[in-house]
Every structure is written in structure tokens, then in C-alpha cells.
């Protein structure tokens, strides 16, 4: 009884969507439409952390959070590159992750897209020149779109995914 009455008394506590954010919803719907056009179904994303500081991961996790909740629009993170249409790669590629990143790319069935997220993915950021870093993402695998920012906002990541889908390369 206590639980039920508590549910009734408390009501909704999630924050309402702020004014400008309906654009995000619009964006996600567009991603959904594009992925349907290209693949005929929802978009499967495999996230590869190639050596990032995890700042980008925090923002990517935001995509799945209650605010964006992207899965309801039919794009989801999958557990294996075998199921993926798109690779979301973060961080400078460390020497330890160079081969796994290449193997992940090879294991992803064509047609496939690669979106490199964050400044480090393009330029290795503050880690450039480190003995542990092999290079930028595009020095290891072909990249379709770079999303800049340290870290980029979820909305920017969505924009990057949309641009990749619209590039129509696959």
C-alpha cells in the first residue's frame, strides 16, 4: 500500500523538455527516416572506445538517457559489430586498440558507416605525440564524418550520424 500511495503522491518527476530541445526530437526522427531509407530498418550502432578519456562516452550515453531516449526512434547500440551498420569511434587510437579497431571494422558487414566522435578522433587532442598513441581514427580505418567537440553534445553526435547517413555512401 505504501508503494502505491507513494507512486500516486509523487507523480511525474522527470524534467519537461526545455523549449529549444524539441529540435533534438526532430533530429532523431530524421535519423530514423534516413536509416529506414538506407537500410530498410532501424540503425544498429557499435561504439568503439579506441582510447578515449571517456568524456565522449558520457555524451554518447546521454543519447540513451531519458532526455533523448533515442531507442524509441529505432536506433540502438548493439553488442557485436556483426549486428552493426555504423561504428561510433571515440578517442585517439592507442597502440593497443589499433588492431582491435581494424578488426572491428573488418567484422562489420558492408554497407557500413564510420562516425568519429570528438576532437581526439580527428587530431589526437592533448594525447598527440604520446608513445602510446598510434594516430587519429582516419589513419586506421576510413571515416565518413568527424564530430568535433571536446566532448561534443549528444545533439551534435546525432547531427553527425545524420550527416553520415545522408552522405549516402553505403
Amino acid at each position: 500500500m505504501g508503494l502505491l500511495s507513494k507512486i500516486l503522491r509523487t507523480g511525474l518527476v522527470t524534467e519537461p523538455l526545455p523549449a529549444g530541445d524539441s529540435e533534438v526530437v526532430h533530429l532523431v526522427r530524421e535519423v530514423d527516416a534516413e536509416s529506414r531509407r538506407l537500410f530498410g530498418r532501424a540503425l544498429g550502432i557499435r561504439e568503439v572506445d579506441a582510447g578515449s578519456c571517456n568524456g565522449c562516452e558520457v555524451e554518447i550515453t546521454g543519447l540513451m538517457s531519458p532526455v533523448y531516449d533515442s531507442e524509441r526512434f529505432g536506433f540502438h547500440f548493439v553488442a557485436s559489430p556483426r549486428h552493426a551498420d555504423l561504428l561510433l569511434v571515440t578517442g585517439p587510437v592507442t597502440r593497443n586498440m589499433e588492431v582491435p579497431l581494424r578488426k572491428t571494422y573488418e567484422a562489420t558487414p558492408a554497407p557500413k558507416l564510420v562516425v568519429a566522435v570528438g576532437d581526439c578522433a580527428r587530431s589526437c587532442g592533448v594525447f598527440a605525440g604520446s608513445y602510446a598513441v598510434a594516430g587519429s581514427v582516419d589513419s586506421v580505418i576510413p571515416v565518413d564524418v568527424f564530430v568535433d567537440g571536446c566532448p561534443p553534445e549528444p545533439a551534435h553526435i546525432l547531427q553527425g550520424i545524420l550527416t553520415a547517413l545522408r552522405s549516402g555512401r553505403p
Binding site: 557485436s80 556483426r82 588492431v99 582491435p100 579497431l101 578488426k103 572491428t104 573488418e106 567484422a107 558492408a110
Partner: protein, 677 residues
């Protein structure tokens, strides 16, 4: 008929003689093999003739062993089924054995093995042909002893002699029970089965019960019913593989034959508790057998436990026949019995095939431990294909024969739910549940057996170097693989024959319940039907259409071959693979109450820092219930009394003379007291 009988006997006998006379080279090996194949073909012909309702075969040989009443042979429908099943495995096993035993060329063991193999085939073929107590027991014991010598073929390996002792102990214990049963049935006069049948009806109920229980123990120990199964997982890994195929494919079925011959034919069935007891033992063997098989890492031990499971399934059907007959549900009884007989024949085909496959693996790699195998499909594609087919059959998947007979067994148990007694109905529901659980676990078990052995990366250098079995071994496997498919597709012909055999045994006038409508098998009540032919053709069409579609539409796309996805690891080694133990782990957790697993992990750290692990060793065992709580106390008791008796045998001649004198004095004194002269 008579000519076929003599051809069969002389084939096997010539084979035995050839092994003795022709030396230990390829000549002896191939001569004894080829005449054994001729003998098996004659046996199959004899059995087919008898089951097709040809002239009944009988042959009296009163001059042989005349002092004991002479030998008598006869073949009825029931015997014909078991003769056919034996001959079906005998020919491919002999062929396979010719290749398998090539390694023994030039050694005395070749002579012994060839001789014993033919003797084994001869006596095993004559067991279902025996028509009388003496003949039956003679060839029964011949079968047991020759198979004991075959198990001991490679007696120089340490584990073999222990296995032989277990096998001999269990089989002689069984023989003692059988002697008791036959002595109780003996009522003077000639001891043919026809006379025993007449005398069996006169026996008092208590004696009949005792005879049945003794026969159940005696034949159950040969069949490998739990708790009398302990010799199977020991003897099968020890025996050469074609012998395992014969023992598991044919010999353990003789236990089922004996149970049917004594219980249903001679005694004519009994009270309902006979059937309930047999069903209980069958269900126990089926479920525990497959549970033990699942956790086994030794390929041949796994197959041995799987034989325990399948014998359980067969005996479950036999028990249902006993129970239905006592409840006067005769069509249901005949149907259940026919389904059990069909599963016995099918099990002979696929278990023979699987043991041969395991033997080819053992021959090629020198190990039976699945955790050291893997990837063999590349080195030995024929063996892998045959083993896969056998696995699909034993897992009860369409379109092969295991599916057909398990489907029939399920259907045959269903009428029990409508039995007049609620107790019987509950028992049957439980039996159905056990059967379903067994079928599912068996599928998991053979996914493991095939997948771990033949797929993925080889786990040891021996597995990398594995070579394909030679032509004779391959031929043996292919014959049985073809038999698995034929028994399924031809079941609409074979099963009605079996039901004609089963009908008179449960007291139903032949030709038994109608179980056939064109190409379709039908239950006697007409509630269910299934056509193995249509299933096979349908599955074939699906595969064909899929193959054509792939060829038509996908072949234009570029094809990319990549390595197996292993989470992007830089190097993938066999140590990262799923092991046989790991595959069974989830089920071991689910059934932890039964397995009572003990785990022992010891980690060896670097002496300077606990952050660096040098080695990890993991050891895990399951509780051997029957060995520990049933056999260990019995063996300890026997040992205790043997040691007491041993004090009499002091080795001193004086003591022995004293025994003689004491015995003489006692006897004379007894004569004086009783006043006899």
C-alpha cells in the same frame, strides 16, 4: 531359412577359425572380416524372412550337449527383430574393425581380437535364436565372456583391467540372477520356451513375481539400467571402438530382449506394479543417463552414458507395454511395445555410428578428451559428416530415425493419461515429462559432443595433425549413416511390421493395431499422424530452395571471408574457446542438487607480488552417487568377508590335512547319527 541359418553360423565360425589359423597379418584380418560380413548378411536375411511371416524357423540339435538335453533353436518375430538389429550393426562393425585393428598387425592381440570378435558375433546372434533354457544361457554366457575378452584387448593400458573387472563382476552377478529365475521356472520336462510358457501360467503369483524381479535385475545389468549401469562408462572407453559399437548398439539390447522374452512371452505379463517398476527404472535411467552424459569430457564415456539414457527410453516404452497390458489396454500396449522395439533398432544404428565416429577420432588423435580436440572437421570431413548425422539422429531431430521413434514413443504413452486408475494417469504424465526432458537434454548433449570435438580451432597438436579414417572405417560409418536415413524414410513399412510382432506378445490377435495410412504413421486411436517421408522430402525441398536462392541472388555480391569475431583480440588461441566443461556449466548449476559439484581453484601468485598470477589450476568433480553410496559399501562388505575367509587358506599343508580329517570325521559322525549305511 535353414540354409541362411547355417550360412550365418558357418560365416562367423569360419571367421573365428581364420583368425586363429591364418596368422596375424592382413590376410587373416580381411578373411575373418569378409566371412563375418557374409554371416551378418545371412543373419539379416534370416531375420527379414522370419519377420515377413515366412515359414517359422526351428531346429533341434539333441546330439549337441546331449547329456544336458540338447540344443534347440527357433526364430519368432521378437527374436527376428533382435537378430536383425544385431546383424545390422555386425556387418559395418566388422568392416570398420578391419581398418581399426590394422595397428595390431603382427602382434598376438590381432589373433585374439579377431577370434573373440567372431565368437562374440556368433553367440550374440544365437541368443535371440535360442529356444530353450540351456541354449539361451549357453550363448548368453558366451556373449558375455567373449565381450569381456574383447574389452580386455588392450589390457596393457592401465585403466582397462579395472574396467574389465567391473564388467565381469556385473555380468556374472546378472547371470546368477538369471540362473535363479530360470531355476524357479523349471518344472521338469524339456526346457524349451514353449514348455516354459505353459509352465509359467501354472506358477504361483509369488514365484512369478520373484522370477520377474530376478530377470529384471539379470537383464537390467546387461542392458545398463540405472543403478546397474556402472560397467558401461568403464568398459566402453576401454574396449576397441568397433567392439563398443557392437556392445552398445546390439549387446545391451539383448537385455531388453531377455526382459521381453521372460516377462511378456514366457510369463505372459503380470500385475500393474511390474509395468510401473519398469517405467520407473526406465525414466530414472533416461534422465540420469543423459545428465551424466552432459557433464562428461571423455567422448566415449559420454556415448556410454547416452546408451544408458537410450536404454532407459526403450525400457520406458517396454514398461508402458507391461502396464497397458495389465490394464487390458491391448492396442496401446502393442503400440508402446512396437515403438520401443523401433527405438531399439534405431539406437543400434545411430549409436553404432557414433561409437565408430568416436573411434575414428581416437584413432586419429590418440585422445578421447574433448577438451583436447576441436577443429577435426577440416582434417576428417567424412567422419565429421557421419558423426553429425548420428548426432542429429540421436538428438531426435527430423528427418532421421531417432525423431520417428521418439515421436512414436511419446504418442504411445499418451493413452495412459486416459487410464482408468488416476495413479496410472499421474505416472504416465510424469513419464511423459521425463521423456521430454531427456529428449531436450540429449539434444544439448550432442550439440556439445559434435561442436566441441569437430568445430572451432584445434585445442592440441594431436587435433591439428588429425587424419581421415581409412576406407574400411569410412565404409562402416557410411553404411550405418545410410541405415539411419533409411530407417526413417522406410518407417512406414518397418513400423507396421514391428507392430505385427508386438501384437501377439501382449495378447492381441495379429496383425495388431492399424498404424499405417499410405506413407503416414498413425496412432491406433487415430488422434495423431506423421509422415517421415513427407517430413524428409519437405526438409530436403526447403534446403534445396534456400540453396538455389542463395546461388541465384547472393552469388553476385562480392564475398568476403573474415576470421571469427573474437571481440577484436589481436591473437585468438584455442585457450579462449568454449570447453566441453564450460558448455555443460549452466546445466550443472541448474541440476546442482543432483550433481553436487565440488570445485577447487588454486592460484599460484608471483612470489614478489600478488598482482601477478603465475598459474591457475581448476579442478571440478561431480558426486558419483551410485559408486559411493551403493557400490562402495557392497564392495567393502565383500572385501571384509573375503578377508575373513582368507584366514582359512593359510597355505600350510598341515592345516589342509586337518580340514580333510575334520570333514571326514564330521561326515562319518553324521552317517552314524542318522543311522544310514
Amino acid at each position: 531359412m535353414r540354409a541362411l541359418f547355417f550360412l550365418m553360423v558357418s560365416g562367423y565360425a569360419t571367421g573365428a577359425a581364420a583368425s586363429l589359423v591364418l596368422g596375424t597379418g592382413p590376410l587373416a584380418r580381411w578373411t575373418s572380416t569378409l566371412v563375418a560380413v557374409v554371416g551378418a548378411a545371412a543373419g539379416l536375411g534370416l531375420a527379414t524372412g522370419a519377420s515377413m511371416g515366412g515359414a517359422a524357423f526351428s531346429l533341434e540339435a539333441p546330439d549337441l550337449l546331449a547329456s544336458a538335453g540338447g540344443l534347440a533353436f527357433g526364430l519368432d518375430g521378437l527374436g527376428a527383430v533382435f537378430l536383425a538389429l544385431t546383424s545390422l550393426v555386425a556387418a559395418p562393425s566388422a568392416l570398420y574393425g578391419a581398418g581399426y585393428s590394422r595397428a595390431w598387425d603382427g602382434r598376438p592381440v590381432q589373433r585374439q581380437a579377431g577370434f573373440m570378435l567372431n565368437l562374440f558375433l556368433l553367440s550374440m546372434s544365437l541368443v535371440p535364436l535360442a529356444d530353450g533354457t540351456l541354449t539361451f544361457l549357453l550363448f548368453w554366457e558366451g556373449m558375455s565372456l567373449s565381450s569381456y575378452f574383447l574389452v580386455m584387448t588392450e589390457a596393457d593400458r592401465p585403466e582397462v583391467s579395472g574396467a574389465g573387472q567391473w564388467y565381469l563382476g556385473m555380468t556374472q552377478m546378472g547371470l546368477a540372477c538369471l540362473l535363479g529365475a530360470f531355476l524357479l521356472m523349471q518344472a521338469g520336462g524339456p526346457a524349451t520356451f514353449a514348455h516354459l510358457r505353459a509352465a509359467g501360467a501354472m506358477l504361483p503369483a509369488g514365484t512369478r513375481d520373484l522370477v520377474f524381479v530376478l530377470a529384471l535385475i539379470g537383464f537390467g545389468s546387461k542392458a545398463g539400467l540405472i543403478p546397474l549401469h556402472v560397467w558401461l562408462p568403464r568398459a566402453h572407453p576401454a574396449a576397441p571402438s568397433h567392439v563398443s559399437a557392437l556392445m552398445s548398439g546390439a549387446m545391451i539390447k539383448m537385455g531388453v530382449y531377455g526382459l521381453l522374452r521372460i516377462g511378456l512371452d514366457v510369463l505372459g505379463g503380470g500385475p500393474a506394479w511390474w509395468g510401473a517398476l519398469v517405467i520407473g527404472l526406465g525414466a530414472l535411467s533416461a534422465v540420469l543417463g543423459v545428465l551424466y552424459a552432459l557433464t562428461e569430457d571423455d567422448l566415449k564415456r559420454l556415448l556410454a552414458y547416452s546408451s544408458v539414457e537410450n536404454i532407459g527410453v526403450i525400457v520406458l516404452g517396454v514398461g508402458a507395454a507391461f502396464l497397458f497390458q495389465s490394464l487390458q489396454m491391448l492396442p496401446a500396449a502393442a503400440f508402446a511395445l512396437a515403438a520401443a522395439l523401433f527405438h531399439a533398432v534405431n539406437h543400434a544404428a545411430f549409436k553404432g555410428l557414433l561409437f565408430m565416429g568416436a573411434g575414428a577420432v581416437l584413432h586419429a588423435t590418440g585422445t578421447r578428451n574433448m577438451n583436447r580436440l576441436g577443429g577435426l572437421i577440416r582434417g576428417m570431413p567424412w567422419t565429421a559428416a557421419c558423426f553429425l548425422l548420428g548426432s542429429v539422429a540421436i538428438a531426435g531431430l527430423p528427418p532421421l530415425n531417432g525423431f520417428v521413434s521418439e515421436w512414436l514413443l511419446f504418442q504411445s504413452l499418451l493413452p495412459g493419461i486416459g487410464a482408468p486408475s488416476p495413479l496410472v494417469a499421474v505416472l504416465m504424465v510424469l513419464a511423459l515429462g521425463m521423456l521430454a526432458l531427456t529428449a531436450g537434454l540429449a539434444a544439448a548433449c550432442f550439440v556439445k559432443a559434435f561442436g566441441i570435438t569437430f568445430l572451432a580451432i584445434p585445442r592440441s597438436p594431436e587435433a591439428v595433425a588429425a587424419h581421415e579414417a581409412d576406407r574400411s572405417m569410412r565404409t562402416g560409418m557410411i553404411v550405418l549413416a545410410a541405415a539411419c536415413l533409411l530407417l526413417s524414410v522406410g518407417s512406414f513399412v518397418i513400423f507396421p511390421r514391428l507392430s505385427t510382432v508386438a501384437a501377439p506378445l501382449v495378447g492381441l490377435p495379429a496383425p495388431g493395431p492399424v498404424v499405417r495410412a499410405g506413407l503416414t504413421l498413425q496412432t491406433p486411436d487415430g488422434l495423431a499422424q506423421m509422415s517421415p517421408v513427407i517430413v524428409t522430402v519437405g526438409l530436403g525441398l526447403v534446403v534445396l530452395v534456400a540453396w538455389l536462392a542463395v546461388k541465384r541472388f547472393a552469388s553476385r555480391r562480392p564475398l568476403r571471408v573474415g576470421e571469427t569475431w573474437g571481440c577484436g583480440r589481436v591473437v585468438q588461441t584455442p585457450r579462449m574457446e568454449y570447453t566441453s566443461t564450460a558448455f555443460a556449466e549452466p546445466l550443472r548449476r541448474i541440476f546442482a542438487e543432483f550433481y553436487r559439484p565440488t570445485e577447487d581453484v588454486s592460484i599460484d601468485f608471483h612470489p614478489d607480488s600478488r598482482y601477478f598470477v603465475q598459474s591457475i589450476s581448476y579442478r571440478s568433480a561431480i558426486l558419483p552417487w551410485f559408486d559411493r553410496y551403493l557400490y562402495a559399501p557392497v564392495i567393502a562388505r565383500i572385501r571384509f568377508w573375503s578377508e575373513r575367509v582368507l584366514t582359512l587358506q593359510s597355505g600350510s599343508v598341515h592345516a589342509y590335512l586337518a580340514y580333510l580329517v575334520a570333514a571326514l570325521v564330521l561326515l562319518l559322525g553324521w552317517l552314524v547319527v542318522t543311522g544310514q549305511r
